[in-house]
């Protein structure tokens, strides 16, 4: 299907990123913006901007009907959902299909298959991927206790509708189960409107490693290597890098092969990410979930492969065959990304919206900043706190790491509080420098910063 004009159904840095990709392919872009985003950088860069609603996301970016209406009434033939908001909404993908719009992403049923994490686990296991022992849906804490006795503790309670760490709790003793079950279920219901939970064995010394997939509509699937996203706080990623440090070539090959196997197995199309947990102690890996969208951390893969992933998404959506075979994918050097959030680290990461009075990004070779911010920009209170992603490339990990350290030092932001200092602390930390990372590292080293 031909694509000439794309509705950008998102905001912030990813809206800007999608507009750049459209321009690169000679496509027009129409930005769907809430009222507060009408003077954003995305609005300035897009060929046209449509005000779809007030600042509240539920009345703008989270309303599929408004987005499709905006696309149709501005003559768009495609819609790019970005990440977050409705990026993994099967109903939005379906509504696009019903109105003859190309949804830049997978088919609605593929989104749905991976959207329910219990179903996704079953499907992955069916297709031969290793999954953590655990349960399907558990209705009560008594039922969850029975699973605990069968599988053993510690266990992770997770939301079936999950994402973003909400509705996730680690259960270390049987006595905790009742309370944590109620808390996780309530959190999941508040976040997703669905309190359904399941259980998975919890791996204490684990790394989060994910594989980037590209799949066209003609059955061709390739991977573009892996990313390590172990540095997280409350299940929110802070630092991502590619390739994953200290990953044996055996494990790397097995992970990438498993990701392709899954995508081929259910006929997936467009860009996707298959997430795995790597057990550091046993050197084994398990399927966690699959994200059926472009990810926040996609730039690190772009830096080490030279592939523009968002452009590839658009090419795939308009029916083109992949331009690269697996053999043509070459991985070179090392890339690191730091997410810069408007938060007060010392006030328990409380959001810090407001006007940016100084915005001096770092410069120099191999430094990339994906952001929608500038001096004078007001970080609104309505959305997430990310103000930019700083990405660096280096010949090897150490070169990338020291370049990131210098870039963070050079980056001056005033008017709002940011996580720049925290990022510099993490990047400079001996544990990160040595590549000795796991999913609890941030939690364990954070007091060193806060006690300074």
């Amino acid at each position: 299907m031909p694509v000439t004009r794309v509705l950008v159904a998102n905001r912030g840095e990813i809206a800007v990123r999608i507009i750049h990709a459209c321009r690169g392919l000679g496509l027009q872009s129409v930005l769907a913006a809430s009222q507060v985003d009408l003077d954003s950088l995305g609005a300035e860069l897009a060929d046209r901007t449509v005000c779809i609603g007030p600042s509240s996301a539920t009345q703008s970016y989270l309303d599929a009907r408004l987005l499709v209406q905006a696309a149709l009434s501005t003559g768009c033939d495609a819609l790019h959902p970005g990440y977050g908001f409705l990026a993994e909404s099967a109903p939005l993908a379906q509504l696009c299909a019903d109105h003859g719009l190309v949804f830049v992403g997978p088919k609605p049923h593929q989104i749905a298959q991976m959207g329910n994490k219990i179903q996704a686990r079953l499907l992955a296991a069916e297709l031969g991927l290793p999954t953590l022992s655990g349960s399907t849906q558990v209705e009560t804490s008594t039922e969850a206790l029975a699973v605990a006795r069968r599988v053993g503790l510690p266990l992770m309670l997770k939301a079936a509708a999950g994402g973003g760490g909400r509705g996730m709790k680690i259960v270390k003793s049987e006595a905790q189960m009742a309370n944590l079950f109620a808390a996780a279920s309530n959190e999941a219901r508040a976040a997703f409107g669905d309190g359904t939970l399941y259980l998975e064995r919890y791996i204490p010394n684990a790394r989060h490693v994910e594989v980037q997939i590209l799949a066209d509509q003609h059955g061709q699937v390739i991977h573009l290597g892996e990313r390590d996203c172990s540095l997280q706080r409350r299940h929110q990623k802070l630092v991502e890098e590619a390739p994953a440090p200290h990953l044996s070539s055996t494990l790397r090959e097995a992970l990438c092969a498993a990701a392709v196997q899954l995508a081929v197995g259910f006929g997936y199309e467009n860009a996707g990410t298959v997430e795995f947990i790597v057990d550091q102690d046993s050197q084994t890996f398990y399927f966690l979930e699959m994200n059926t969208r472009i990810q926040v951390e996609h730039p690190v893969t772009e830096m080490i492969t030279g592939v523009d992933l968002v452009q590839e998404q658009l090419r795939i959506a308009r029916g083109e065959r992949l331009r690269l075979s697996q053999e043509q994918v070459s991985i070179r050097g090392h890339a690191i990304e730091c997410r810069i959030n408007a938060e007060q680290v010392r006030q328990n990461f409380h959001p810090s919206p407001g006007q940016i009075t100084r915005w001096d990004p770092p410069g120099g070779p191999h430094i990339r900043l994906d952001s929608h911010c500038h001096e004078g920009y007001v970080v609104p209170i309505f959305y997430d706190s990310m103000v930019g992603k700083l990405i660096v490339y280096g010949f090897d990990r150490e070169e990338a790491r020291s370049r990131m350290s210098r870039a963070l030092l050079q980056f001056k932001i005033e008017g709002i509080d940011t996580t720049l200092e925290l990022q510099r602390f993490l990047i400079d930390h001996p544990r990160f420098a040595s590549g000795d990372v796991n999913t609890v590292m941030v939690e364990s080293v954070l007091p060193e910063l806060l006690d300074r």
Binding site: A43, E44, C51, Q59, R65, L66, Q69, L95
Partner: protein
Amino acid sequence: MTHNLDFLSDQDIRQIAALVDTLDRSGFDYLQLDVGTIKVTIGKGALPAQAMSTGLSTAGASVPSPTLAVPVAPTLAAAPPSSGGGAVHLTLAESVPSDWLPITATTMGRFYSRPDPNSPPYVQVGTPVGADDTVCLIEVMKLFNAITAGVAGTVMKVCIEDAAVIEFGQVLFYVKR
């Protein structure tokens, strides 16, 4: 203007400077502000006649003027976008008498002035409306939302043509109390 600026405090001047900056970045041609005893009109090039007559000349008078209460109304033309790039195409809501109040779109969608093609419009110029009266429909994906006036008065102007696509916040009607 023969006034000197002695009557303005540093604070006033800073605020005016901030206004100039805001206007500069907004895409509006001029801005007219009426706060207490001070009236300020800032703009580029020749000011529209309306601003000239109601703005500067009456400095000191206490005419309450809701000029700035007119919401920002991005225009959404039916034509496809030009590929020339550019930002939001904001236009200042047309100059209307100060006692006209706008009814704005509470959602984006397609504007319908009547319940069905064979019925008369909900309101026309001269129709008296109550705050809870339906003044039009806005269709979003086959779902018709009834828009209520929000204010009581008489319809003075219908700003949108039937079946036009409108954006959130766009002025649909003006009503005089």
